[in-house]
Amino acid sequence: MAASAAVRSSMGLTLRLSRVIPDCSTCPLFRLKCNAKNVANLQRRGSFDSLRTINRHLQTSIGDVNVVYIDRSGQRIPVKAKVGDNVLYLAHKHGIDLEGACEASLACSTCHVYVSAAHFDKLREPEEREDDMLDMAPMLQENSRLGCQIILTPELDGIELTLPKVTRNFYVDGHVPKPH
């Protein structure tokens, strides 16, 4: 409410404030649109959109985290999650094909995901055991993490998690014998 009051006191925006600001946050189309654009674009578009963003934050219930999974075929699957959700089990809940062979006990690398650049540094540092298992994952990248170790926080809103494409060619091109 303090935000709206501060804005209201600004002359230039008084007119706009008189328009009815719809409760956009409950509409799936709005959420889809928001997810499709990145935050930088939103910020660039001027005061009306900043207002709408503020409004959205006020309207969105506390504890919601928007997550996008990108599956192996490249399909984007937006998911509404809660603070405290585990990325692996969230994927399972929404029918996404992320295996978790060892059931989140840091004994395999089947829940390997790539984390969006904007969010990667916001994750808690991996413990040594996670790094050890990540070392075994095929197609390891700078932004690789194990999904079972990612617990959602408010800062991770908008996070995108890409499932690695372990393609057939993986075995054909420069196949290196793996340990067993």
């Binding site: 050890d132 070392d135 075995y171």
Partner: protein, 494 residues
């Protein structure tokens, strides 16, 4: 599969484990499948990770596929049960996923069926639209040196089978009355063997290691384990998790040869992350002067372990006049080249190491089980392209039989999903002829009955499972494994 429109319906959570893959099952469209007049029937030979992951992928992808899994032993899960070390129980969690697959309405498990002996691949091909060979690697590479057959020399495959309760290894009874054990090979299996030989009994007795092994280890005199490799530290085949476990193993201290690590520090900067982290840990363990606390821990340790590099076995030496091992003769190598491709070249020098136990951990090996199946004896795999067996329509392979015996469960999973994708592609394209219905297990069960073979069902296995867990309970172990096929069958059919 990408071409199908996916709608998802949330099915009831399957187990307290969080739903697993059944809850993720998509009610998919049938695509081209709706044009075929019968339900595709697929037979999988082998019930380890390869078999189960192939089954899982097929069942998820098409609503009409029925999968039958045949297994030689009365018990499923292959190397997850008989290969994964007893002190790595989390790795075995994957059994929960496999259990869901086995209990799916379109999946059936037939244990106690020896494919190749009780029923032929040709007969399976007549009964099923597709047959997938996932029976892994039950043989081992031999060292090919004199003295290999002396008492006191074992393959790691047999040693691991022994401590994990594989019925065929029950009589191994390795002699642990010597002080020094030498393990040839430096992969994760070699490190598992070293760790089991040196772990405090108090740790092992809470695992599912077999009772006879526990008793043998309690009497063991082995105090020193050398893990020997042909090449250098940068070529070592184990992974960091297993190395860390050795470094942190209670009541043990590391014993390395500093000279083996010449030049390794300089090479670090060019190594990819996994190799770099592993090498850094090795360097630290071998060369760094430990802090006071660690120094004290090491001085109190009663057991030692160490890597020995640039050594190849040339002969196992017997005690004069006896057929028991007294030591092993190792050739000294030098490296030509660097990195993964470095080659070990003989220098002509040899070195004798006295020891009373040799475990050869240089690789598993697949064996041909049926003359009608093409087999590449040089690579010891079934020749294939993307899991499709060459020159054999309707025949596929997955797991170690397809790519050779390396890889952890995650590797086998991807490997098996790939084979399943090939099968699905072939179903969609018509390469796999599905115009005629196939009898599947109906005809095979009739054949087996005629031959006096009674399959063990998945519920029969669950009886065995319950008995094992119950027996383990009174001993503070997750399970006490049944050690003979006879006992297993007795429980299954009572």
């Amino acid at each position: 599969m990408g071409a199908h429109k996916l709608l998802f319906s949330e099915l009831k959570l399957w187990t307290s484990g969080g739903g697993g893959w059944i809850a993720r099952l998509h009610k998919g469209g049938c695509g081209k499948a709706s044009l075929s007049s019968c339900s595709p029937k697929v037979c999988i030979v082998g019930s380890g990770p390869a078999g189960f992951y192939t089954a899982q992928h097929l069942i998820k992808a098409r609503q009409d596929v029925e999968v039958d899994i045949y297994e030689r032993l009365p018990v499923p899960f292959g190397l997850v049960r008989f290969g994964v070390a007893p002190d790595h129980p989390e790795v075995k969690n994957v059994i929960n996923t496999f259990t869901q697959t086995a209990k799916h309405s379109r999946c059936s498990f037939y244990g106690n069926v020896n494919v190749g002996k009780n029923v032929s691949i040709t007969e399976l091909q007549q009964a099923y639209h597709a047959v997938v060979l996932s029976y892994g690697a039950e043989g081992n590479r031999s060292m090919g040196v004199p003295g290999e057959d002396l008492a006191g020399v074992y393959s790691a495959k047999d040693f691991v089978g022994w401590y994990n309760g594989l019925p065929s290894c029950r009589e191994l009874s390795p002699d642990l009355s010597c002080e020094t054990a030498v393990i040839l090979g430096q992969g994760n299996v070699a490190l598992d063997v070293a760790r089991i030989l040196l772990s405090p009994i108090d740790i092992l007795k809470k695992t599912d290691i077999t009772q006879p092994t526990l008793e043998a280890l309690a009497e063991s005199q082995v105090r020193r384990v050398l893990i020997v490799g042909r090449r250098g530290p940068i070529q070592i085949a184990c992974t960091i998790k297993e190395l860390r476990e050795m470094v942190n193993l209670p009541d043990t201290r590391p014993d390395m040869v500093a000279a083996d690590f010449d030049g390794v520090k300089e090479a670090l900067k060019d190594l990819p992350r996994p190799r770099k982290r592993l090498t850094e840990l090795m360097l630290k363990t071998a060369l760094e002067v430990p802090g006071e606390k660690e120094q004290e821990r090491r001085s109190k340790a009663s057991r030692t372990w160490g890597f020995r590099f640039f050594r190849s076995p040339v002969e196992v030496l017997a005690e004069p006049g006896h057929s028991r091992i007294a030591g092993i003769r190792l050739a000294i190598n030098k490296l030509e080249g660097s990195g993964d491709g470095a080659q070990a070249v003989l220098t002509g020098e040899v070195e004798d190491v006295p020891c009373g136990l040799v475990v050869s951990s240089i690789g598993y090996k697949s064996l041909p089980i049926d003359p009608s199946v093409p087999f590449d004896s040089r690579k010891a795999i079934v020749p294939n392209t993307m899991g499709r067996v060459k020159q054999a329509a309707g025949l596929y392979c997955s797991g170690w039989l397809k790519t050779g015996p390396t890889g952890v469960i995650a590797t086998t999973m991807n490997n098996s999903f790939d084979t399943a994708r090939s099968i699905l592609e072939d179903m969609d394209s018509g390469t796999l002829d599905m115009s005629a219905a196939k009898p599947g297990s109906q005809s095979i069960s009739a054949l087996l009955e005629k031959r006096g073979v009674e399959p063990v069902t998945f519920s029969d296995w669950e009886k065995i499972d319950n008995v094992e867990m119950k027996r383990g309970e009174s001993r503070g172990k997750p399970r006490e494994k049944l050690l003979t096929v006879e006992e297993m069958l007795h429980v299954a059919w009572t």
